[in-house]
Each structure stands twice: as C-alpha cells, then as structure tokens.
Amino acid sequence: MTLKDIKDVLTFRAFRPEPDDSTAPWSRRFIRESTLALNIGRRRVSWMALDKRGEFRDAGSMEGDSKEIITQMGPEWRALTDNGWCSVSLNHRFVITLEVNLSRRAGLEMQLRSNPKAVLGAKSERGKKYTLQHNAESNTSVLLSCDEEAVNKTVTMLKDAGLNAGRVSVGVYGMMLDLIEQVSDARRARAATNPGDPFGSVVMIACNEGSVCVLSQREEQWTELRSRSDLYTDDMTPVLDIILPLIQNAGPNTNVVFMNDEAGCPLPDLLRQRIPGALVSDVTVPCQMWKLLTDS
C-alpha cells in the first residue's frame, strides 16, 4: 500500500472509478472536477471545457495540423482542467461498416478490445481498434474500426502537452449509436401504442465536423450504412450526395432522423428542400457532441 492509496481512501477518490476506467461514466469518474472535451480532426480541432458544476464553457476551435494545435494549445487546455483529464473524439482515421452474422457470445465486447481476431476472424486487421453495436432484432451489427496508431499517437501527444486522455472515442460513431437508441425507443413506444402498425423506414444521419455516418433501417432491419470522414466543411453538398441515394432507396415516407455535433446545422432544411414532403427530424441538442463525450 502506497501513500497515494491512503490519500485516495481519505479523499474518497478510491471509492470512485479511476479517471481512465472506460467502464464508468465520465460524471462518476470526475465528480466536482473540471475536465476537457476535444474533437480532433485531420485539419481542425475543437474543444469545450466542463467545469466543476457540470456546465460547458470556454468553447474554441482551431484550423490546422492537429499535432501543432495540441502542442500550441496544450498549456491553455491544461489550465482549463483540474488534473488535465480530457475526453477525446477522433474525427479521422476510422471506418464504420455494417456487418452481418458476427458472433454474439457473452463477453465478446471485452474480447474485441483485447483480441479482435478471435471475434472478427478474417475481417480483423492488424493495427486496428474495434468496437461494435449489435442490432438486437436482426443479425446485423455496426462495426467501428480505428487506426490503433492514431489512438496511441493522440494519447502520446496529449500526454506531452500535459493532458491525460480519459477516453478516446469516435464522435460520429457515438452519435450514431445514440440515434439508434432513440429510434429503437421510438419504435418500442410505437409498438406499445399501435400494436401491429408498421414502423416504416428510417434513415439516421450523424454529422460531426466533416464526418458523416448514415444508417438506413427498414422496420427492425439495418439495411445500408455509409460513413466518411473529412467529407465537408461549410458546404453540405457532399453530404447530400451520400444521403440522398439512401433516402431514395428507403422508399417513400421515410423518416429521416438527423443529429449534428452542434445545433443549428442547415442540413435538415436542405433535405426538406431537396425532398419535398420528407419527414426530417433534427434531434440535435445544444452541445450535442460535448454531452456525448462527457456522458452528460
């Protein structure tokens, strides 16, 4: 037992999850502690501080090489936190795919972190980190693969800048999982109120500072998925080019559910203009991305 262990017990820190314990929510790991959320893209980095009261403040963003930005902004970011802990969203060097017939045995998620080949078989690649989400009502799964090197380099760069990565995630994938859950909840509620009524098709769109993930669902089945990083900046045309074919494939009266990293994105209006009569729902809330990153 070290002096730190005794200190942690006396400060009640030992009764909370460790700061880098990925199994615990951010809010339980950092009680009354200022932390930072970072959204790191290839050519753009944005950030938001979460203060002791759980309120967001000191938002900022910078264009340029992420490594240079981290080196330059490190001291300022460190000052925004109590102990340098940050939750990171990687916005590049990832691929989201729709997989079929993946194993669903117990403990698979943990095994996927330590030995992805045992879970994915031939689909597994060396130097990749994986995480997945199964469709509970069909044999499809959404699989995220991310360059291990990108994750490790980001953690190292942050460490050099005096910051500790408490979580490294892919923001647009997290947003898509949130959309899936919201749609699933809506479907369950619909089934409870109108038993036997078809739910129809849903196209879920998640956008995060240039990254896009689109998932098409017909009833309980996931049918198509498209994902791109560094696709757009201010002009949303490239996004529309990806989305529109999926909406058209989904058929008429398709519900489009949209989530952006921050409220106020023009894409829902553009969709309504391009597809008159489309049922577009924007479920984005203020600080959407930052709330996801900090489990708020």
């Binding site: 006396l10 009640f12 009764f15 990925s22 615990a24 995480t131 995220l144 953690v155 490294v168 994938y173």
Partner: protein, 192 residues
C-alpha cells in the same frame, strides 16, 4: 444520450486498473474523520478541564496559603495568650505563695512604733523547708526595743522564732540601727 449507454473507449486499458472500492468501505475514512474530530474535541475538552483543574489548584493553593497565614497569625496570638497566661499563672502562684507571708508583713509593719523606721524587710523560703521563713529586718531607729515589739507581734500571729540573731555593732542598742534575722515557723499548736 441514453443514460444506460456509456460512450465507447478505444484507448488501451491500463493493466493495473483497479475497480473502485465498495461503498460500504467508505465507513473507514468516515470513521477516521469522525475519530479525528472526536480526538480534537476530546483534546479540547481535556485542555479545558486541565485549565479548570489548574485554576482550581491555584485557588486551593491560595486558600492553603491564606489558611497557613491565618494559622501563623493565630499561633502567634496563641503564643502571646500563652505567655500572658503563663505570666498570670506565675503571678497567681506568687500571689498564692506569698499569701502566708502577708500575715508576717502585716504583723511586722503594724509592730513598728511611731518614730521608728524600717529600711528593709526581707522574707525568703527554701524548697527544702517550705515551712521555714527566713526573715531579715533592717531597723533604722528603734533598736532592740522595736525588735522585741516585732517578735511579740509575730508571736501573736502564731509564729515561733528561732535562730534569732541581731547583726549590729552594738547588739544591745535600744534606739539605734540594728539588723534582726530569724527563722519563723507557723505555730502548730495554735493552728490546731
């Protein structure tokens, strides 16, 4: 964000990552702080009691010193009283012891005739024979006549004289100065 879902994490897990301690174990630091607060409180209470005890002790010491001073004063007063008492006892003893001699003095003084004078009358007794009173009378004028008068007065007072002696150049001087010494004994027959 669904509250049941936690955002995924792609970073490698730290091998020595330990789970949080059970909540019930919070009792330990809570008890520690309670005991620390209790100790400080108890220490403060003890300090207060010590101060109070010291104050009480000082008050008692002061009272003891005051009592000691009072006792010293009383002892001094007692000593004065004892000394006065002793003197009074001495006076009383003297008075009692001289009571028998008063008859002799009265008899001698009353026997002095007009015109005669005595320069001194000395009476003494010894511890060995307290019944015997040695008398020495210095007669300035009156001589042996006055001496005879004095002897008769003493005999009237039931005193017997023996070992009589007249000390003077002229032992038969009937008018001049003579010194008469004798030993007086209370007559037993008359007393009976």
């Amino acid at each position: 964000m669904s509250k049941s879902n936690i955002m995924h994490d792609l970073k490698s897990d730290r091998p020595d990552l330990s789970p949080p301690l059970p909540v019930v174990m919070m009792l330990l630091p809570v008890l520690f702080y309670l005991s620390a607060v209790g100790s400080v409180g108890f220490g403060g209470l003890c300090l207060m009691k010590i101060k109070q005890a010291q104050s009480d002790e000082q008050r008692e010491v002061d009272s003891e010193q005051m009592a000691s001073r009072t006792r010293t004063t009383l002892v001094a007063e007692q000593k004065v009283i004892d000394e006065t008492h002793a003197k009074a006892r001495e006076v009383e003893t003297w008075m009692k012891s001289t009571q028998p001699l008063m008859e002799i003095v009265t008899a001698v003084v009353n026997s002095v005739k007009t015109g005669n004078t005595l320069s001194s009358l000395r009476l003494s007794r010894s511890q060995d024979k307290p019944d015997h009173v040695d008398m020495r009378v210095e007669i300035n004028s009156g001589g042996t006549i006055q001496q005879q008068e004095t002897v008769q007065a003493l005999m009237k007072s039931n005193y017997q004289t023996f070992r009589d002696d007249i000390i003077s150049p002229d032992k038969s001087d009937q008018r001049g100065a003579v010194t008469y010494t004798t030993t007086l004994v209370k007559s037993a027959t008359i007393e009976e």
